[in-house]
C-alpha cells in the first residue's frame, strides 16, 4: 500500500476526474491518492466517480480556493 499525490489545480471539470481516473488505473487496491484541485465541481465529481467505481473517499478538505480529496483505491 502506498500513498500518491495528484496536482489537478487550475483544471476545470471534468479534467480533475479524468486525471484521477487515469492515476487510479495505475494504482493497487489499498493505495491512496490525494488530489489537489481548485474547481469546486470536483467536490461532487470525484466522490461521484469513486462511488460508481467502488472506491472510497476518505477525506475532503477545503481551504480557501484549494480543495483536497483523498481516495482509497478498492478492488473494484
Amino acid at each position: 500500500m502506498s500513498h500518491h499525490e495528484l496536482d489537478a489545480r487550475q483544471l476545470l471539470c471534468p479534467l480533475p476526474v479524468i486525471r484521477t481516473q487515469e492515476r487510479v488505473a495505475m494504482l493497487q487496491p489499498g493505495d491512496t491518492l490525494t488530489v489537489r484541485c481548485t474547481d469546486r465541481g470536483a467536490l461532487h465529481d470525484i466522490p461521484a466517480w469513486c462511488r460508481v467505481h467502488g472506491h472510497m473517499v476518505t477525506a475532503t478538505r477545503r481551504e480557501e480556493a484549494e480543495i483536497t480529496i483523498t481516495v482509497k483505491v478498492l478492488g473494484a
Binding site: 487550475q10 476545470l12 471539470c13 471534468p14 479534467l15 476526474v17 479524468i18 481516473q21 474547481d39 469546486r40 465541481g41 467536490l43 461532487h44 465529481d45 461521484a48 466517480w49 462511488r51 460508481v52 467505481h53 480556493a65
Partner: protein, 330 residues
Amino acid sequence: MLAAKVMLEQGIHVEGINFYTGFCVEGHTHAIRREHRDKPKRNNALWVAEQLGIKLHIVDVIEEYKDVVINPKHGYGSYLNPCLDCKGFMVRKAREWMEQHGFDFIITGEVVGQRPMSQRRDTMPVVARESGAFDRLLRPLSARLLPPTLPEREGWVDREKLLNFSGRNRKPQMALAAAYGMHDYAQPAGGCCFLVNPHYTHKLADLWQTRGEKRYDFDDIMLLKVGRHLRPRRHFKLIVARDEGENQFLHGYRRQFTHLYATSHVGPLVLAVGTLADEDMVLAARLTARFGKGREAAQVRIAITTQAGETCELDVEPLGADEIPSDWYL
C-alpha cells in the same frame, strides 16, 4: 440514460463512456461564473451513471478531436458544429474502447429523425460504417425501425423489447422515463456543446481568421468561454472578466499574456491577446477603465504588465460607451 436503462432491463451489463472534447458546456461555465454558483455542479454523465448503477469512463479526446472540428468531412451544421463527423468519431472511439475492454457491442441513445444532421435515417448508417462499428452499433430507442444488428440477430438482446421512437418529439422518451420512475434528467440535447452556440463559434471563427489558419490549442478554446471579448484592432483582442469568478480564472492565465487592471478603482482583469504597440496600450487601458467602477471618472490609473513581467502604469480617460463600435464585440 434511457437507452442504457432499456438494456439494463434486459439484464445486459452496461458501462458508460463519456468523451471530453473541450467544447462541453457543463462544468466550465458553471465553475467559473459567479452567477452560475447556485446551479448544481454535478457532472451529468456521472450523475446518470450513478442513477443507473453503472460504471462511467470519462475519456479525454481533446487532441484527437481537433481534426474533427478543423476538417469535418461532412461539413458543419448551422455554426461550427461538425455533428456527423463528431458522432462517427465518438462511436469509433467507443468501438476501440469496446475492443480493448472485451465488450460485445455499443449502444447509443440516438433516435431516428431527432437531430437534423447526425440522427437522420440516411446518416445513421454513415455513423455505423465510418466508426467501424457496423452492426455492433445498436440504437435501442429506435431499433425496431432499423435493420437488426448483430446483438439482435444473435439473441443477446430481445429485439421485441426494444423501441421504435422517431422524430423530434421527445414525449415518448419522457413517458418512458416516467414509466421507469425517472423524474430528474439532463435536459434534452442541443445545449451541451459550445460548437452550436452562435456567440462562441463567432469567437472561434475570429480566432481562426486573425490567426490565419484553422488551429487551436486547449487554452484557446477555454478562453473563448470566459469573459467579454473585444477586438479593437486586427492584431489584438481583449478578454475582460465579467465577475469575480472570471477574474480568478483569467488570473491563472495572466503570465501568458499582457494583462491590465485598474489600480485607482475596482475593475476587471483584462488579458490582451496579440501584440500591442504603444498606441494600443493606451487604447487597451482606456477600454479596461471603461469596464470598471471608474468608468465615469475623469481619470483611471491602469497597471499594464507585459508577458515579460514588466509593469507600467497609465492614467487614462475611460472610453465612452459610444466610442466602442459594436463590431469590436465578438
